[in-house]
């Protein structure tokens, strides 16, 4: 543990994340900067959690957004109906996603490669269709937070800052966890599974357990994130909570930065969100921003499959100490 903490790569990753988080404190228009930073931190936390499964273990979860949606729904329901405090609701959201991942993990992680990817899409669609019909969660209309709920936190403005600080802390924790996983014995087991699952099992990695725990770890943070995000939003609907597209955007962020690295998803998520923001306001690209993002993704997949950080690591071997 002590030796891990002396790794400069960890501190670089944490410093970059903290810089995103602290930016609103220094900006002139603080509320605006907070919204921008919120989007970036949300993307970083989601991408870094996804990376635990996608990057370290090599399993492609195409429907990872299901954990954000389910966690968000559970937490939202508890806040809306029982007036539970945001912090407790967030933990409950994370827990429910973790339980779903644990149960699913026992079942669908037996599938390999494309079959697993297809199954995760199926899980996300099944969950969305189910929630649409589930009356306690508001069915197709969803739920809207009563404005009075924010009063308990000292007004809407205070509440938004609280959700922001929660997200910032969560993002730092995700980065720390993903570093600890990568440098631990457990993480080495995961990477062995990624390279060759059968060989890993022969070497003594208990693959079914390791995969399930990796899945649970990568699900718990999106669950918490979902509660914070939808609390800030004030309402939740099946249409917004289980957007398959966002899952894939998460994969794009991980690929852009470099899968299987700690720093990659952070840079990839920030760069992708920044680029999307720029395209959305540019008069030339506004209408075809999706197509531009598609072209970019295609270029990365075809020519730099290891992502930015991965490319730097292979090109300049000295940087490997710093870029974990």
């Amino acid at each position: 543990m002590k030796k891990q903490l002396r790794n400069p790569g960890l501190w670089l990753a944490l410093a970059i994340t903290a810089a995103f988080a602290l930016w609103p404190a220094l900006a002139s228009n603080r509320a605006y900067a907070r919204e921008t930073s919120f989007t970036i931190l949300k993307a970083v936390a989601f991408a870094a959690s996804l990376n635990i499964l996608l990057g370290f273990t090599g399993y492609v979860s195409f429907g990872h957004i299901v954990f954000l949606g389910l966690g968000g729904y559970v937490g939202f329901y508890l806040m809306d109906t029982f007036g539970l405090h945001l912090a407790l609701a967030a933990l409950a959201g994370g827990l429910s996603s973790a339980i779903l991942a644990f149960l699913l993990g026992k079942a669908i992680l037996r599938l390999r490669g494309a079959y697993f990817a297809l199954a995760t899409i199926g899980v996300n669609e099944a969950m969305r269709a189910f929630i649409k019909n589930f009356e306690p969660f508001g069915g197709p209309i969803g739920m809207t937070l009563n404005f009075g709920v924010y009063r308990a936190y000292g007004g809407p403005d205070q509440a938004l800052w609280m959700a922001y600080i929660g997200t910032a802390l969560l993002t730092i924790v995700v980065v720390l966890v993903s570093f600890l996983v990568k440098t631990s014995r457990f993480g080495l087991g995961l990477m062995a599974i990624r390279e060759n699952e059968d060989a890993a099992e022969v070497m003594g990695v208990v693959a079914p357990n390791a995969k399930t725990w990796a899945y649970v770890l990568s699900a718990v943070f999106p669950g918490i994130l979902g509660v914070l995000f939808f609390f800030k939003n004030g309402n939740i609907e099946p249409r917004d909570a289980f957007v398959l597209h966002q899952s894939i955007e998460g994969i794009v962020m991980v690929m852009l930065g470099g899968h299987g690295t700690v720093l990659g998803p952070i840079l990839g998520a920030a760069a992708y969100q920044r680029l999307r923001g720029l395209l959305l306001v540019s008069p030339l690209f506004k209408n075809i921003q999706l197509a531009v993002a598609g072209v970019l993704l295609l270029i990365i997949i075809l020519f730099i499959p290891a992502g930015a950080v991965g490319w730097l690591r292979t090109r300049f071997s000295r940087l490997r100490r710093v870029l974990v």
Partner: protein, 283 residues
């Protein structure tokens, strides 16, 4: 109540089958899951729409153009997006085809917007006992059967078709026998997208649609492929009929909105219990 909705479902099932067959063919030949399938279905719909409202062409005549366009588009997608990563891990091909999905949807949304369209085309109905079936659906089902028959004829009786089967069996051995495998893969990809475009075109003759409509048919195609076995074209048609029948029967017992829940639960269950599909994979 049950019989007409079951008939409707079965006729629709043939068209679903064609869409799934395209996905299944590409998977069977080159182990690629084509995530650009949905947008191509939507392009098929818009092809018929433009021909019908713009040029006043009969939809079935226009379908011939859509078939040609679908084939060419598929070959193009293969060379641009898939060829470089054909031997890479699954993630690469999934993301490459998804990038194509984003490009098509991005450009087409800018051109057509996402407002709903429909092909205002009606051939009347065909009375079968107490119920009446719309001719457009009967013709769509017949066209689907015809396309399936032609596909099998092509795969089993012609040289390029046999080459596709050889490449799907063993790419390296096929290459050694002098088959230009890359072109054969491109052809197979083209045939897969062609089938998607045909199904989109046929659906457009009886359902309204938007440019984003393809994605729900793409998801149905996944379900069907898993029902019929990935990489088994005939299984896809049978899977399509099964799904169509389910969609016809379920509303008789519960709210229509539960249909997708059952579909996707079934999908995940089959993946778990019999990943090779109910009918087994590959022919």
């Amino acid at each position: 109540m049950l019989v007409p909705s079951l008939m409707d479902g079965l006729l629709l099932g043939f068209v679903y089958g064609i869409a799934a067959m395209g996905l299944s063919l590409i998977w069977g030949v080159m182990d690629v899951i084509n995530l650009a399938h949905g947008p191509i279905i939507a392009l098929g719909m818009f092809g018929i729409y433009l021909g019908f409202t713009g040029l006043g062409l009969n939809p079935y005549l226009m379908l011939i153009l859509v078939i040609g366009g679908g084939l060419l588009l598929g070959v193009l997608i293969y060379w641009v997006a898939v060829h470089r990563v054909i031997n890479a891990p699954h993630l690469s091909t999934l993301l490459a085809t998804f990038a194509v999905n984003m490009i098509i949807i991005g450009i087409a949304t800018a051109i057509f917007t996402t407002s709903p369209r429909n092909v205002d085309f009606n051939l009347g109905g065909f009375p079968v006992g107490p119920i009446t079936l719309p001719w457009t659906r009967i013709l769509a089902a017949l066209a689907s059967v015809l396309v399936t028959a032609l596909l099998y004829l092509f795969l089993y009786q012609t040289r390029p078709g046999k080459a596709i089967r050889a490449v799907s069996d063993n790419r390296a051995a096929a290459e050694l026998m002098g088959i230009p495998t890359s072109w054969i893969l491109a052809l197979a990809f083209g045939l897969g997208t062609m089938l998607a475009a045909i199904s989109g075109g046929l659906i457009s003759t009886f359902f309204p649609f938007t440019i984003l409509a393809g994605s729900s048919y793409e998801l149905k195609s996944f379900v069907i492929c898993v029902l019929g076995g990935l990489g088994n074209p005939l299984g896809a048609l049978i899977g399509g009929l099964l799904l169509g029948a389910l969609e016809g029967i379920i509303p008789a017992f519960m709210e229509t909105s539960w249909v997708p829940v059952l579909e996707f639960v079934l999908f995940v269950l089959i993946l778990l219990v019999r990943p090779q599909g109910l009918l087994g994979s590959k022919t």
